[in-house]
Amino acid sequence: MTRLRFRLLFFVTLLLAAAASFANVTTVRFSVWDGDKALETIRQLVADFESQNPDIKVKLENYPDYNLYHQKMLVTYAAGVAPDVVMMDPQHFQALAVRKALLPLNPFFEQTPGFDIKSYYKPIVDAHSFQGTCYALPRDIAPMGIIYYNKAMFKKAGIPYPDGTWTWDFKIRPELKEKDFLWVCEQFTKKNPEGKYVQWGYTSGWTGLFADMIVYATGLLPYDNMESPTKVLIGSPEYAKALQFAADFMNKFHYAPSVTEQSSAFAGATAQALFVQQRVAMYQNGIWEVPNVRKLLKPGSKEFFEWDVALAPAYAGKDGKKVLKFPTGGSGYGIMSSTKNRDAAWRLCRFMGGEPGMIAMAKAGIAQPAIRELAIKPGLWVPGPNTPIEEMYPANRIVTDQAVPYVQFPTTSQYYQAITDRVNKGQELIWNGQKTAAEILKENAVDAQTRLDFLRKEEALPPFNWPLGIALCSALFAAIVVWVYRPHFGKKLTQLERGETRSAYWFLSPWILGFLIFTLVPMMLSLMMAFSNWDMILPAQSRGLGNFNEMVNIDPSFWKSLKVTTVYVIFSVPLGIIGSLGLALLLNQKVKGVSLFRTLYYVPSITSAVAASLIWLRVFNAETGMLNFFLYGPNGNWPIGRMLSSWIMTDPSKPVDWMATEGTALPALIIMSLWGIGGGTVVFLAGLQGIPTYYYEAATLDGAGIMQRFKAVTLPLLTPTIFFTLITGMVGAFQAFTQAFVMTQGGPNDATRFFVYHLFGNAFQSLRMGYASALGWVLFVIIMLITVVQWWAQNKWVYYEAETK
């Protein structure tokens, strides 16, 4: 009977397997960072692909956050569950390619009949290539030499529309009129009667974009070799001159709004908003902004005006020879080497990065095709004769094609993020005029070179010694167990005590199980990694104490970030405790509507971090921020503000620019942290409810006043809660990360480079998970030591009603 059943089962299984192999459907996992409208286009494309290729099923995955997309890819690759086809870009592919995590695509190119990589724009293919091998099939190219211009404003000023033949020089050349870019800009600069600038000629999508254009066009590059840099070249006087010009363009000549002016008046996308508000006549960016601008300037809406795009100006050249050069972006599709379905993956890759994919993206107005033939086809990318009005703007999309020969990609180096982080350090201080370009670049050139040399220097390390690591970790675990029970060795428990111990372990069992199953192994593994060199892709190498040596002796940001974090902890934790305790005491009173108040005070703690950061940037804004309004008064001349300015600012006539000044960025983040005291307040409120009222009654009978009752009853009985807030607040503050990640990126000039932010950068931007783990464990030890001290000190001030010694 059982045997029969087994046989039956066997046959059924065989049958099912046969059926499956007959249908032979392979699944390809495909991940993109697109969201919303772009995702919709991709989804449609995937459906089309599946119907044309019935033997392939595509599982689309999207993480609409560009930075975290790359982080997640590394995590999945490290765990062996990476997607098959991934969206890629020139800044990220090399780090994967050199470690063989991406497949070289050239063999596929050669095997595929009718495929010609030469039909793609050369720069974008080169940008996805390393040592002559291509690792991602281009999806689009996005030259940022595109100027969106307001036709109405040009018409009103009597200036002919730009036709791309204009040039720029470091000085204005009025004799050339509309052929001189600076002259055109100047025509639009306007002040209001109070002397404030209210209109400008030009702004770029972000300040670095304009600066990059100046740098590239004057024949400069930040590195000696953009594919494999060895020398950092930003220390030259020419480089400083170029960046200083970009700053003066805003702050001295007022051709473009200053950083503060940009951020003061607008809600979200700043540069674009200026253009839509008709306060700048020209706006430089990539073509990907088109869908947004179309949406903001709908034909027939109140906001609508006629607009178009033109080629950005060329540099007039030192010897009278025009130089055209623009920064650019672009993306492509790569295949992870862990894929099991190379053929299917390539077919998908070719579909998305070939004609079907590009036509769909072009029609949606999202991306210029990377295949030239498609990019210049009227009616597809360039508007054809019967284009509906909504898609008419911009009419001159052909300039995107004209720009391609002059593009310059940022470095495609595998160290891209690690070194640009050093190259750009403190650049915001150039843009807001607090430091000169020469000052900042001199320091950065050295820092970046040191970093690059360090990263390029390959240590010859042995493979990680797993048996030893596991043995040491097990020994450590055993030592901890011994430490826990040592004081009780040899002591005999009474039967009652044994019973209590048994019950205790029953109560503790969920945590003990959870600790052993979910927490212990990851912690131990990360401890082992702290002694390793591990890029998350290749097998880990043993580095001994090298990581710790690096922290103390080599990595200057280690000390800086430790200092920044310590200052943050010292101020934010006590202020947070005092604030939340005070608020809790207020909210514990019998006041009208107190329950509503409690909720309202908690609202800040649940507001989304992105919304909150947006708002805070406005609160701290130098010109229109709320904080400065209270400090400087409506006319900007209150003494407190003046005093602050002369104390903090290099130019004392300016109001303090909180987030963009080295001395005030961290205090601003500390103030910001107080906004979240609602959480601590809730804890204290709960603590206050736990105080038995008869204590108060007794104290009142004894004739104690409000203050005495607070000192004799409330405070002592609240000490366990205060202790809790102190410890958890400190643990949380030492691990502060989000503010730096979302708002300041560690700037200006590393002033808010929190320890965990530094750790994150090492882990996922420099791909140095070994060093990051070491950092993590150092932080662990620091927090642990402080906690132990406080734990020991609590005997002196924390009062437990029910202490069991």
Binding site: G35, K295, L296, W511, P522, R598, I606, T607
Partner: protein, 292 residues
């Protein structure tokens, strides 16, 4: 005699008057504080009610000229980030993990706070130490563990661990609270032969209302707003949560502030309601049966 009571009466009146003046002042302070702390929320709501064009063209503080409720409609009906599906996912994750946290952290906290056993304080130190290592460095081993369990792209990694301890933060919070409750009553119960489970369940849990409400609300909100965990663990678009869904409105180069803000407001509403309902337990939860 009469005189004295008159004086007494007068001073009581005076005290009452000062008290009511104080109360009024307090109220003014509270209102001012609320206004300050709600300004960002105001901006959020205002931004969410402007059309994209108006948003770009107006001050952040200005009220919308035309109220664009269509933003909300768009967020609710966007097929690329299906709101109700994500809502369902978020509700499942947040509810179950909150249940797990409340259940297991209270049990463990009882063990640490009210029982005496060898190694207790040092074990508690180990418990606290699990908070001290930044999550970034355990992310990959943790992820590999989920893969080993076959839990990738499921809700399990976001729910199951909550039933195993509920996190050091919550255990610590409840332990502190439990250590503030006088012991006389459970000692009496112990002498009467009651087991610890009975003491925990019958005598202490009913007195832990405010602390339990705090833990419950905190962990619900934490899981509701959690971004990194779901981002790493969930792959399929149909498994995503509301917080992940919001990211679609700030995808690379495609910021849609009006929709992002509308979405953020919608995501906040359930938590505000939950808080309004839950917060009365901070006050009324104190039954304090027998202890007082």
């Amino acid at each position: 005699m009469q005189n004295q009571s008159q004086i007494w009466q007068q001073s009581a009146d005076k005290a009452q008057r000062t008290a009511s003046v104080l109360r009024f002042l307090l109220w003014v302070v509270l209102v001012a504080g609320v206004v300050l702390s709600l300004l960002p929320f105001y901006i959020m709501v205002v931004m969410s009610l402007k059309s994209a064009g108006e948003l770009a063209g107006s001050s952040v503080w200005a009220l919308p000229k035309e109220w664009a409720f269509s933003n909300y409609q768009e967020v609710l009906s966007n097929k690329n980030a299906p709101f109700f599906l994500f809502f369902r996912n978020s509700v499942i994750i947040a509810t179950f993990s909150t249940l797990g946290v409340m259940f297991s952290s209270s049990i463990v906290a009882y063990g640490f706070a009210r029982l005496k056993f060898p190694g207790r304080d040092r074990l508690f130190m180990i418990l606290l130490s699990t908070m001290m290592l930044p999550g970034i460095v355990t992310m990959i081993p943790q992820y590999a563990l989920w893969k080993y369990f076959g839990w990738i792209d499921t809700f399990k990694p976001l729910i199951v661990p909550a039933f195993f301890g509920g996190g050091a933060y919550n255990i610590f919070l409840l332990r502190q609270f439990l250590m503030g409750i006088p012991r006389d009553i459970d000692e009496a119960a112990l002498l009467d032969g009651a087991s610890h489970s009975v003491i925990f369940w019958r005598l202490l849990l009913p007195n832990m209302g405010p602390a339990m409400a705090t833990v419950g609300i905190f962990s619900f909100i934490y899981n509701w707003k959690e971004f990194m965990g779901p981002l790493i663990i969930l792959n399929s678009p149909e498994n995503q949560t509301l917080e992940l869904g919001l990211a679609t409105y700030r995808a690379a180069n495609q910021n849609q502030w009006e929709l992002l803000m509308a979405g953020s407001v919608l995501v906040m509403i359930p938590i505000i309601i939950l808080f309004l309902l839950g917060q009365r337990y901070f006050v009324k939860g104190i039954v304090m049966t027998g202890i007082k």
